[in-house]
Structures are given as C-alpha cells and as structure tokens.
C-alpha cells in the first residue's frame, strides 16, 4: 500500500489563513499580530505562537476561544492583548505575571470570575472587562491592588457592591460601571483624584457618598454619567440643572445631613434590572 506523501503545505483553506498570518509574521518578525475574526476556537490552531517571543501586540478578537493556555504568559514582551468577543469562561493564573502587559481587553466574554492573584499585573494600565458576568463575589482579593491602572471598564457586569479597596487605584482616570446592579458606591471613590471619566449609568443607585463631591467632574476634560438610576429627589433635581450643581450640592452641609439620615433610615433597595437577563454572556 502506498502511503500518502508527507506534505508541509496546509490543505484546509481555513487553517491555512491563520497559519499564513503566523508564517508571514515570523518572516518579517512583525511585533504586532492580528488574528481577529479567524474562526479560531483553540490555541492549537495557532502553532508556534507561544514561541514568538518578539511580539508586543496580540489581537484575537471575534473568535470562539474558550480557553487560554497558561503558556501564553511566555510571551514576555506582550504589551497589548486583545481577546474581545470570544467565549472565555476562565483565565489561567499565569496571566497576571506578564511583565510588560499594559492593555488587556477581555470584553464581551463569558467570565464568571477571575483567577486568584489576578491583581498582580506589574504594569497593567487599561483593563477592559465590559460585558462579562463578574460580581464582587467573584473578584480575587488583590484585584484592586493594580496601582498602575488608569482605565477600568466594568460596564455590563453583575456588581451590586464595589469594594472600598477601589481607593487604592490612585492613578485611575477612567472608571466605567455602566449597567451593573450597583446598590451603593463606596466613599473611597472620592479618593480617586485623577478620575475624569466616571460612568455609573443604569444601576440601582439612590444616593451618592458626599465624598464624590471631592472629584473634579466639572472641568471640560471630565465626563460624569449618572442617568438611569433611582436617585433620591434632591439628587435628581440637581442633575436636572447640571453636573456642577450636583457637585456643589454633594459638598454642602445640607447634603451631609440628608445622607446620614438616609443611611440610618434603611432605605428600600430598588429591584435589579431585568433587561440584562438576555445577555449572551450568560450562555453556558
């Protein structure tokens, strides 16, 4: 019986596309690797990738990747890792050891939690966790230790509370908490003096800690989005007139009194938003 000749030419067109990109990249030692929308389901479809130590950016958006191998952390020169819109349900522990990673995009996945020690990234500046299934119950203990973080996107998740450790993120300029189930905000947000984009749209908030009044949210470089919450009337009234009126009000003695009285009266918690039940990140 004749054996088929051994061939190194890939024979399925879909496989070849990914492999071709890899080969071309290796030839010219291109530090930026684009593999978005290639129908990739596993890292095995990208042979040799984990040995391409020279790459600084890896873009794998719009694929069907479920698992990231721990070996990805071998790519020690990686600065930007984009895994947006995949099927990720969990991540390897090794990820947070990547020494140069600055931008990590995990948006539009199915993450219910993050691995232990996730907050150990030494250089992480931008972390995008938009549209997952994360909550305060599933964040690792050191999550808010990433002092280098300047942007944290956590919109479309399931947070009801936010840890007071958020105050550690002294360099944070952008904090997006849009459309979670937040019932209250910690006063420590008032310590994030560099914050200039702050989005809490579409939560279950009724009242703001007076410390929020410390933030500079009225300069032309600042954006503060608060609509779609169940604000108490005085806050809603101030919002009608404008953010600067609201900020003045939060700093007033009147508000401090109202705030402490409100807290002692055990306010009713608004119901969660039903809208998000349709999120495709919930598919298991």
């Amino acid at each position: 019986m004749n054996q088929a000749p051994v061939s190194c030419i890939p024979n399925t067109s879909k496989m070849s596309k990914t492999k071709k990109v890899l080969e071309e990249s290796r030839e010219i030692q291109n530090p930026e690797l684009d593999l978005a929308d290639k129908g990739i389901a596993t890292f095995e479809e990208m042979p040799g990738l984990l040995n391409m130590l020279y790459i600084t950016r890896l873009t794998l958006s719009h694929n069907k990747i479920k698992n990231v191998p721990p070996g990805l952390a071998n790519l020690v020169n990686l600065e930007i890792l984009t895994l947006a819109n995949n099927h990720l349900e969990e991540l390897p522990l090794s990820l947070s050891s990547m020494p140069k990673l600055r931008i990590l995009n995990l948006s539009f996945n199915r993450l219910y939690g993050l691995p232990r020690g996730f907050g150990a990234f030494p250089m992480l500046e931008v972390l995008d966790l938009t549209y997952n299934n994360l909550s305060e119950k599933t964040l690792p203990g050191n999550f808010f230790m990433m002092e280098t973080l300047r942007a944290l996107y956590m919109g479309d998740n399931d947070f009801e509370y936010l840890s007071s450790d958020i105050g550690n993120l002294k360099n944070l300029q952008i904090l997006v908490l849009r459309e979670n189930d937040l019932i209250e905000l910690p006063k420590e947000i008032g310590e994030l003096t560099r914050l200039r984009e702050f989005n809490v749209q579409g939560n279950r908030l009724t009242i703001l800690p007076p410390e929020i009044g410390n933030l500079d949210m009225i300069s032309n470089k600042s954006v503060f989005r608060l609509d779609g919450n169940e604000w108490v009337t005085p806050i809603a009234d101030q919002l009608q007139v404008g953010i600067s009126h609201l900020m003045d009000y939060l700093r007033s003695e009147t508000y401090r009194i109202l705030y402490s009285r409100y807290l002692t009266n055990k306010p009713e918690i608004p119901p969660p938003c039903i809208d998000k039940a349709k999120k495709i990140s919930r598919i298991r």
């Binding site: 684009d34 929308d37 873009t59 930007i80 984009t82 600055r102 459309e179 984009e197 779609g228």
Partner: protein, 349 residues
C-alpha cells in the same frame, strides 16, 4: 554648726570648790552633776537659755557661750533656705544675697547643682558655666561646643543633634581631624536613630557613594529618586512649573526639566491613550481622549483608523463599524436606547 553630744553625768564625789556654770552655787554631796566640755551644772540648770527646758535627748546648740534647744536655736539663729524656706542646718550656701541648702542652690536654666561647681551671675540669675556660655553665645549669634562648652567661632559641626568644634572629631574612615565640611552618616540606612550616626570627612564620604541631591546638594540618606541624570531627595524632586514634589507619581521630562502631568500637558500637549506617551506629532482627539498617529485604532480589533474612518462609540471608546456590528444585538439595542448611536466622524485636531 552641729549639735553637741550628750554630756556625761558624774556622781558620788566631793566637789567643794566646784560651782554650777549657770547659778554659781556649789553641789550637794550625792547630787548628780552635768559635765559638758569641762563645765559643770546642776541638773536643773542644764537647760535651754531661751525656754529653760531641759534639752530633748540631751541635744543642744551653742551660740556665743549660750546653749539652746534645737527649736529655739533654729528660731533665733538658723538661716532660711532661699528656695524651700526651711531652716538650713549644716552646710549653708551663701550666694545671691541669700542662704541655701546645697541641694537647693541650682542653675536656673538646667537645674544642675551649683554648690560645688560654682556659678555665674547672669542678669540676676545664678547659672552654671555651661548655661552661661550658651546664653552668651546666643547673644553673639554663636554656638557653644557640646563637648568643651567653649564658644565656636568658626563653623560648627552638627553631630547626633548637638553642635561641636569640628576638631574634637576624626573621620571614621581615614582618621583625619575633621572640619565643618564633615558629613554625618546614618550607618544603618532606614533607621532614624541618631546614636548610630558616624562622621566622615568629605573625601571619604564622597568615596562611599552616598548620592547628593541635585536640588539642595546635601547627601540623601532616605529614598533616592534618580531622574534627569541626577539624584534627588524625594521631597526635592519637583515639577518645574508648580514646584510640587512628584512623590512617586509619574513625571515628564523636557529639556532637562521635569513636570507633573498637568503642567506637562498644559505646556507641551497631550498623552496618547494607548502608549501613554506625550504626543509629539499629529494628535487625534475624540471621545475625551487623544491618540498619537500610531495608536488611533479600533478599541476591539486594534485596526488603525484615520481622519476619514467612521466609528461608533460606547463607554467613550472607538469601535470600527465591523466590530460594532459583531456586538450582541441586545447590547446594541440597550446602547441605542441610551444614546442614539450614530456613526461619528473623527474631528481632526
């Protein structure tokens, strides 16, 4: 003056030609006679010259040939201490127009005892030599050496919180006699304990490689900031514009000067959202952010965009049309409800 000890009583002898020192009468044969320092008394005559009562426990005080009990002696003759007001029995210090217990006569500045060391009258106060020298030195705008208490005419040497003549010390390393340029070094870095400090001459100090602050020219013993090719005390490394210390916050360098983020921006422009570097060339500004030419790209697929690219926006991030259309329909519906998600054209800066 001290009390005289108990006199002896003599009895059973004939004293025909002897008389009582007080009343001049003779003694009866078996009468008890008081004999004290060669003089004799009837027992009833050996009493205090003031209150005529016998001496308690036989103790009496003598003054101008008269004997007094302790109480009357003190009332009549003993001086009062200028400090505590009690009688001074025993050694009296006569000074500053008053009498003092040796224990009570002290320097008015440091409360050190002056009885044996002597004192100096300074503006109505009794001072020890050391304090007096200090007062004098302050008046002259000078220091007093902590070791020899002499005035320091030249530059003093500060060491373990005190000032000295530099020539009392030698360099810990080379043994040369020190001058005021000597440096005090904490031998255990990180510990503030003065007792551990040592002195080095300038040459040895420089050889030890202790960094010198680029601002104040003094050695840096705590945390060192290295920037702009120099070392700095943490609190002396400041923004060239507002002069606030960076305290570990990011700084930006330009033409040999360092600036805080705010003032660098104010003076020299924007930071790119992706590389976080100051944008040297063309700037893309949109969505409350800026990008350098290399980094204006779709936030989901990292594809480069330019002035002409239409992009969508959510959470103030740009997404190309292709990416936006791949987002879950229910998400896009919610987004639309929140704000009309119309394609936006980039506004070139």
């Amino acid at each position: 003056m001290s009390p005289t000890p108990m006199p002896s009583l003599t009895g059973g002898m004939s004293f025909d030609n002897m008389m009582c020192s007080r009343c001049g009468e003779g003694f009866e044969p078996h009468e008890k006679i008081v004999n004290s320092t060669g003089e004799l008394w009837h027992q009833q005559c050996f009493v205090c010259a003031q209150c005529f009562r016998p001496f308690k426990e036989g103790i009496f005080y003598e003054f101008e040939n008269r004997k007094y009990c302790e109480h009357d002696f003190q009332v009549l003759f003993a001086p009062c201490c200028g400090k505590c007001g009690e009688f001074v029995i025993g050694r009296v210090i006569k000074a500053m127009n008053a009498n003092w217990h040796p224990n009570c006569f002290r320097c008015e500045m440091c409360s050190g005892e002056l009885a044996d060391s002597g004192f100096i009258r300074n503006a109505g106060r009794a001072l020890c030599h050391e304090c007096n020298a200090k007062v004098k030195a302050v008046g002259l705008g000078k220091y007093v050496c902590h070791k020899c208490h002499g005035l320091i005419d030249d530059q003093p040497l500060k060491f373990r919180g005190e000032v000295y003549h530099p020539y009392h010390f030698i360099c810990t390393a080379c043994g040369v006699e020190l001058d005021s340029s000597a440096r005090e070094v904490r031998s255990r870095p990180g510990f503030a304990n003065n007792d551990m400090n040592e002195l080095y001459c300038l040459r040895c100090h420089d050889k030890m490689g202790i960094p010198i602050c680029g601002a104040c020219r003094r050695p840096i013993e705590e945390r060192v900031v290295t920037a702009l090719g120099k070392h700095w005390h943490v609190e002396h490394f400041v923004c060239a514009k507002c002069e606030k210390p960076f305290f570990g916050h990011r700084h930006y360098e330009k033409k040999g000067l360092a600036y805080c983020e705010t003032h660098y921006h104010q003076l020299f422009g924007n930071l790119c959202f992706v590389c976080n570097q100051v944008i040297a060339g063309d700037v893309f500004t949109a969505l409350n952010k800026a990008w350098c030419v290399h980094h204006f790209a779709c936030s989901m697929c990292d594809q480069k965009m330019n002035q002409k690219t239409k992009f969508y926006e959510f959470d103030l991030k740009p997404a190309c049309k292709k990416c936006y259309e791949k987002l879950p329909i229910e998400f896009r519906r919610r987004l639309r409800r929140q704000h009309e998600a119309t394609p936006k054209k980039l506004v070139p800066a």
